[in-house]
Point group: none
């Protein structure tokens, strides 16, 4: 599968989503994560520890034939030309967003830009605060009303994700945190939903 993770706004879980979706896909086949972000977040994540897939800079991707799955982590505000190139090669675009006002606005702009390209895209609500906050469900309602195709799976805001970034691994490998398995389950659900969408 060729996935692009894209968002006009930073801090919405773009890198975390890229890393964990790549980790999910690597269970199915050889996977590479292409980092197009000028902050090189994914590359640095990989340097810190051990990820079950390769991470390469987009500028120097090397040969990609051997990979069954390619995930691309994009810069926060790609120019239109870059955006076109990024999207042209993708089967699917995932647009993560946090359920707050500023992120939702940026999401709508991202989606508007994506409409031009004939690529299927799906919003993914991440960083959902715990109940009794209704931010998550309200964000979903807003997206529904705006007609934005949205993944049913969603990702909560867990401290385990930060631990994973600190250790250079995915939450699946995080030890000593009883919620880390839950966090991994959430991205597994996202991965399965994406597989289903790309096959159906």
């Amino acid at each position: 599968m060729k996935l692009t993770v894209l968002s006009y706004k930073g801090g919405v879980g773009k890198t975390t989503t890229s890393v964990h979706l790549a980790a999910y896909l690597s269970q199915r086949g050889k996977t590479v994560l292409l980092d197009a972000d000028p902050n090189s977040s994914s590359l640095e994540w990989a340097e810190m520890g051990k990820l079950p897939f390769e991470v390469r800079p987009l500028e120097d991707p090397g040969k990609l034939k051997k990979f069954a799955h390619i995930v691309t982590d994009t810069p926060a505000r790609p120019r239109n030309k870059t955006l076109r190139e990024l999207v042209r090669e993708s089967e699917l675009v995932v647009v993560p967003t946090a359920p707050d006002q500023l992120s939702m606005r940026a999401l709508l702009k991202t989606v508007e830009a994506l409409r031009e390209f004939l690529v299927p895209y799906y919003a993914l609500i991440t960083l959902i605060p715990p109940p009794p906050s209704k931010d998550g469900s309200e964000a979903r309602k807003t997206l529904l009303e705006a007609g934005v195709p949205t993944l049913r799976s969603e990702v909560r805001r867990w401290a385990a994700f930060n631990r994973a970034a600190l250790a250079g691994t995915t939450v699946r490998e995080v030890r000593g945190d009883p919620r880390a398995p839950l966090a991994w389950l959430e991205y597994e659900a996202v991965g399965r939903e994406l597989e289903w969408l790309s096959q159906g």
Copy 2:
């Protein structure tokens, strides 16, 4: 005062910081917030409600002579040339960061770029999760060890900030949330510290 709020990474409270520092300064004198972000977050924030200061796009700032205070909200990843122009006019640069791994890395890069310019800059830790999480204090320690000048004041992660963005106001005007006054006090402390730093 001429403030620039700058960060290489998005989602670290850059716009929230810009809006609230401008609100703080508007208590002291006529203030304008220049929005240089391609997402126009600040401009949209202002459109939703009523802020106690003007917000203008950086491309079309108009006459600025009448303003005692100018705050500039920058794009997430300005190019070096843009960065130079933004910083040249500033007395002070504030670099907000969240206390997580990815944000801290980006902060260090931001700071590295700022060292070239002869402008005083200060990191501001925002979006601090509530105790017993020690993310805030650990981030501070990391910054101290890295030799990054850091504001003693800090800003916690409050739901009231999202409410303010929703209403197009500052947290000072948010009704129905008992923690909103506390949230405002935090930015007031930041403002006071910046005033003190610019005078001393």
Copy 3:
């Protein structure tokens, strides 16, 4: 600083004010609270828990040389002779009052008695009910018209103060009440204003 907290009427926050101002001053230097009230409210407050300063009965104050700050909590209706002795040693007298009719009347009498002594005194409006009640601002107006020097800082009626009295601590230490920090800030503002007045 040598502070006396004085009021002809009870139930206006005299003991609460004494305890919290002593707590504020104990941040600056070694502080003692002298309890001159026959009900020994302050002493009992201290017995219940742990205050960051000593509390002693006025009759047996012991050696006071080592203290940088002395706060005296007076009885509700001291006789003139006692009043003179209490006030003679003070640099500053704080007269708390609630914003109701009976308390305001008693305040005016207190102030009249204080005029004889050459000591600076300031009224402090406490126990202010929440908006939309205007009791607080109306009390301030009344005091202004009566020419009573009044602190700009004021203290609202919070349940957290009762919790602090129950636990034998200050509101700063009260856990589980989101408004407790706000309550503490109010007394901090009072303390700062008094410091400023005594220095200027």
Copy 4:
């Protein structure tokens, strides 16, 4: 009936209770309120407006034979000798208290002093904050456990009482406040309970 309203602590509704119980009794027969408080709260209350009974200073009570009911409003902290004289003439002592920590402590002291005299006394919980605060019921429980005889009737903290003090009347006469009649009902219940207790 000869009633004494007594409390070691101020600000617990002593004067309000005296005034309203006297107003209640004046419906049954000629009533006088003797003000023994050095702050002369009751006298000043009477001066402001029109009460349905006479108010006289205790020092100069005049002839009292013509009165069917005598209510005495005592000073906040009477000396033992004064206390004896006040109580000797009373059929009943009412000890108002607010449901907070400091007031309850003072109440226990008051009651302890009253035990020496062979006079029936009853605690009256006043100034009860609105639900969901449980201060009122908790105070009642505390008194029950301490073995203090307590009136079942109780008085809530209404803004109307302050309005009455401002106008120099009782809450029964307060206009424009929908809760004033309720407030009056509460003191009527207290009066009826006291009558029943003095007769039975």
